[in-house]
Symmetry: C2
Subunit: 301 residues, 2 copies
Amino acid sequence: MGKKSSKKKSKDKGSQKATQKPSTTPFSDALRVGEGFRLSDVDTRATPAFVGDKVAGEEALAAADAEMDDLQERLFAHGRSGGTEKLLLVIQGLDTSGKGGIMRHVVGSVDPQGTEITAFKAPTKEELAHPFLWRIRKALPGPGMIGVFDRSHYEDVLIVRVHDLVEPAVWGRRYSTINEFEQGLVEDDTTVIKVMMHISKDEQGERLAERLDNPEKFWKYNPGDVDERMHWDDYMEAYQAIMDKTSTKSAPWFVVPADRKWYARLAVQQLLREHLRALDLQWPEADFDVEAEKKRLAETR
Amino acid sequence: MGKKSSKKKSKDKGSQKATQKPSTTPFSDALRVGEGFRLSDVDTRATPAFVGDKVAGEEALAAADAEMDDLQERLFAHGRSGGTEKLLLVIQGLDTSGKGGIMRHVVGSVDPQGTEITAFKAPTKEELAHPFLWRIRKALPGPGMIGVFDRSHYEDVLIVRVHDLVEPAVWGRRYSTINEFEQGLVEDDTTVIKVMMHISKDEQGERLAERLDNPEKFWKYNPGDVDERMHWDDYMEAYQAIMDKTSTKSAPWFVVPADRKWYARLAVQQLLREHLRALDLQWPEADFDVEAEKKRLAETR
């Protein structure tokens, strides 16, 4: 039921640089990764599909809350009534790119009963003893749910590739495995939204420095973050390969410029909104006799 | 670390009827179930520990958001830094008592990365093949987390008792099993907050009728709700037994009058706030050399 909105509009391929579009352009079109896309061409301070400043952006985010509630509840209601639709939001990005802010301010603004966040950390011994998609499959959303991955199976072609944690021939096969896996999700009525939170190296430097300047943020700092930062170019190359190989028609990538936190939050919210709207879900009909139930209820009062 | 605030203040035992206390009375004291407590004495429209109307109550709820964020983040930070504290909020109540509203408006107002909601439905075949606490143990919060149970192990002495799903000798033993189980949680640095959302039979009748009057709410209606409603007195008796047998010093019950949704939400939020405050958690210190890290970071810019 309901077509996925992830169909590529051919003229928007590689349109990341057109940042001053009127706000009537769907975020999905402005941010979708098409053929010829180059990560290095993206201005990480741009605000594609939105004209306005931080104040306007924060207002737009808040203004969409009511519709987000409604859309999420319709999805949830369908899941309770035999519907099979579900949504998977994959959030990828380097340290400090704002993944946590998306969880807090975008995912956190809808009913927590209808969302499931899974944060994928370094794999456990048990997880390493299984195929890389094993732990991913266990965390997939059920009918009516919005599943959110904070990092994902893409780490298996990111940190794993950058640090040679497995042989190149092994990670090299994973791109097509991932495409087949995601194709299966889409065929199982999952709307898949894959988001890369894209920050500049300068912006990451500033955000890490803030954590070291504020004792209330020490707990968020990990010396390993600087170690990873030293591999910046390798990570960019690994992300480019992901965009080249896994932005498919049924499960495309969206690259969100993330130097401005307010914009990145608005963009992810709007991607969710556009995809949920496209499902066009109506309230389920009663699967019981309404008048008979009214009578039964009246007899208990 | 941090004493639990659940210590009983003896003069407040059974104080549910004192609804016009000044707002300086902690909600924990006003709502805690002590010796001699009678469920039938509770006015389900009362607003213990709060003086004010709906507008004031909604304002008070919103006004506490920032402190709730801070308290939750401190708990989470401790969990990430070797701290063992965690919190378990158990929400019980008959159909339409507002459990979902608590999840949406109270739990949903803090960072979803630090909360885990588990909704316990009728047990599966696999769950039934295990001791009744098996599925409960699997859902317990880890360090730094706020676990929330929407229904819980108490269903095993509620619906199970009302419908004779097991022998009386079996459910009869469960009260002491539950007390031992919860004592173990407290010894494991879990703050346990058990809340009964207490509505009147009339209020339930109105809320069920609303669901039958509004096609957008049909999906929330289940003919089985009316079947359960016919056992109202049996449920009240089963809840009274729970209050008599399982409101312990280390894991007391709080009965929240729930005919006014705004009050029930405020009360649960304030119970959480008071218990989190009592933990008195400070920001974790750095487990790395701050100056050395600043230098390392500067070298990568």
